[in-house]
């Protein structure tokens, strides 16, 4: 899967879980400031990403993940 296809897939998960318009899902977008997503919603997003990408993300790996870009890097590092 190339990077663009992976981000499209990531984006559709984020749109579904966070209930925000697709154009707000940018690499720079902050979960708390731009997407109004709290920590439980980030956990729920990661669960959806685990299923979509068939990966496993440990809870400790979410420390410091504050933006869409950081979450996307975490996912792609496992592909």
């Amino acid at each position: 899967m190339d990077n663009e296809a992976a981000f499209d897939k990531f984006k559709s998960c984020a749109v579904e879980v966070l209930q925000v318009p697709a154009e707000k899902i940018t690499l720079e977008a902050s979960f708390s400031d731009d997407l109004e997503a709290d920590s439980l919603e980030v956990v729920e997003l990661v669960m959806a990403l685990e299923e979509a990408f068939d990966i496993t993300v440990e809870e400790s790996e979410l420390d410091g993940v504050a933006t869409i870009g950081q979450a996307f890097d975490l996912v792609t590092s496992k592909l």
Binding site: L18, Q19, L40, V43, E44, M47, E50, E51, T56
Partner: protein
């Protein structure tokens, strides 16, 4: 009527989400219409006026009913202008977010523990409804949930009234909500043989064969009466008194002869400073189960030393919405007073020959002068009674 040392409690707002109607007018008209055919779900409930899409996804249906009824009651009450630190939320539910729990147990079994939603706990917890109301309004006074099965709505209102009587709160949103009509809930009540096998709710009827499970919610805005008068609020009624007792007998069966129900009704009248002779109407628990209706009718006969005043059970129409039922029925009492008409007991065709009370059937009848008694009894032996009265009521029989 003023009781020394305590403030009076006005009902200044109502909101109802019921299978027989959403909103006060539709609900009250629905109580005198034929019962809904089939399951007693609130099919036309739309959460979108109360929640955006994301909020709705995070709120179990019982929480949606809680917030929707509370918001409707608040809108109905007008401008409360209340100090948020002196405004409370006391809400009831029988089981909380059962649909969410059932869904997530299915996820657990099918996909494993790692897929269980991080929102399961905040969505299923019984206090989610009260918490959501306080967050929505920014009310920071007492915010608590009463979980006493089918008595929850009534006991919540009694507790809420106490907060105003004692001076802790100037306004309280109170009531109850339930949304337990999911497979696990229906199976569980069904296997207890509590549910009607005919699917028809017939309170006090010879052929009654169990309750018809329903869902919904209702909320009341209770307010310090003097404050409500000062701001020119529309006042539906006054909560004169309440009582909460336990049978201490059996986890599901009522105490024989309705002794628990009787004690609770007597205590509520005493709390209200009125006598049995002041009661114009009893809004009965009347679930349509063989045991409840017989025990409740026996208690009423003992309390009034005869058939007593006019009795209605609205569950012939509404079905039994468990922790929401008492709140829906308290809203009915407020509307009964406002409109001066008692709705009939729909579904009752032939009074049980062992039941000797004065049940309203067929069509609404005018409300005589006096106070109303609203009963709720829950699994666990929980009894709750409210005394609700027209604002000008003064007991001729009470000591001066």
């Amino acid at each position: 009527m003023a009781r020394p040392g305590r403030r009076r409690v006005a009902v200044t707002g109502l909101g109802v989400v019921s299978c027989c109607g959403i909103g006060n007018d539709a609900f009250f008209a629905g109580l005198s219409a034929p019962a809904p055919v089939g399951e007693h779900r609130v099919y036309d409930f739309d959460p979108s006026p109360f929640f955006d899409v994301k909020q709705a996804r995070r709120a179990d249906r019982f929480q949606q009913f809680s917030v929707a009824s509370a918001q409707m009651a608040l809108d109905d009450a007008g401008n409360l202008d209340v100090d948020p630190g002196r405004a409370g939320v006391i809400f009831g539910t029988g089981v909380g977010g059962l649909e969410t729990l059932q869904e997530q147990i299915t996820v657990l079994v099918q996909k494993g523990a790692r897929r269980v939603s991080p929102f399961l706990v905040p969505m299923m917890m019984a206090n989610a409804g009260a918490a959501a109301i306080s967050m929505r309004l920014g009310w920071r006074g007492p915010c608590e949930t009463v979980v006493t099965a089918c008595a929850a709505g009534t006991q919540a209102i009694g507790n809420a009234a106490r907060l105003i009587q004692l001076g802790r709160c100037d306004a309280v949103i109170t009531g109850g909500a339930e949304a337990a009509m999911v497979d696990i809930g229906i199976a569980a009540f069904g296997n207890m043989t509590a549910l009607s096998s005919s699917g028809v709710s017939r309170p006090f009827d010879r052929r009654r064969d169990g309750f018809v499970i329903a869902e919904g919610g209702a909320a009341l805005v209770l307010e310090d009466l003097e404050r409500a008068l000062e701001r020119g609020a529309h006042i539906y009624a006054e909560v004169l008194g309440s009582a909460s007792t336990a049978d201490a007998h059996h986890i599901t069966a009522p105490a024989p002869g309705g002794t628990g129900a009787l004690a609770c009704m007597e205590l509520a009248l005493e709390d209200a400073g009125v006598t049995a002779g002041d009661v114009a109407h009893v809004n009965a628990h009347g679930t349509s189960t063989p045991l409840n209706d017989l025990a409740e009718a026996e208690a009423i006969v003992k309390l009034f030393e005869g058939a007593g005043p006019l009795v209605t059970s609205v569950k012939g129409v509404t079905g039994h919405s468990l922790g929401a039922a008492g709140a829906i029925e308290a809203a009915c009492c407020a509307l009964t007073i406002e409109r001066g008409m008692i709705p009939p007991t729909v579904g009752l065709e032939e009074l049980d020959p062992d039941i000797h009370i004065n049940v309203v059937t067929g069509a609404p009848v005018p409300l005589p002068e006096g106070v109303l008694l609203s009963n709720s009894f829950g699994f666990g032996g929980h009894n709750g009674c409210l005394v609700i009265a027209p604002i000008g009521f003064s007991s001729p029989g009470a000591p001066a």
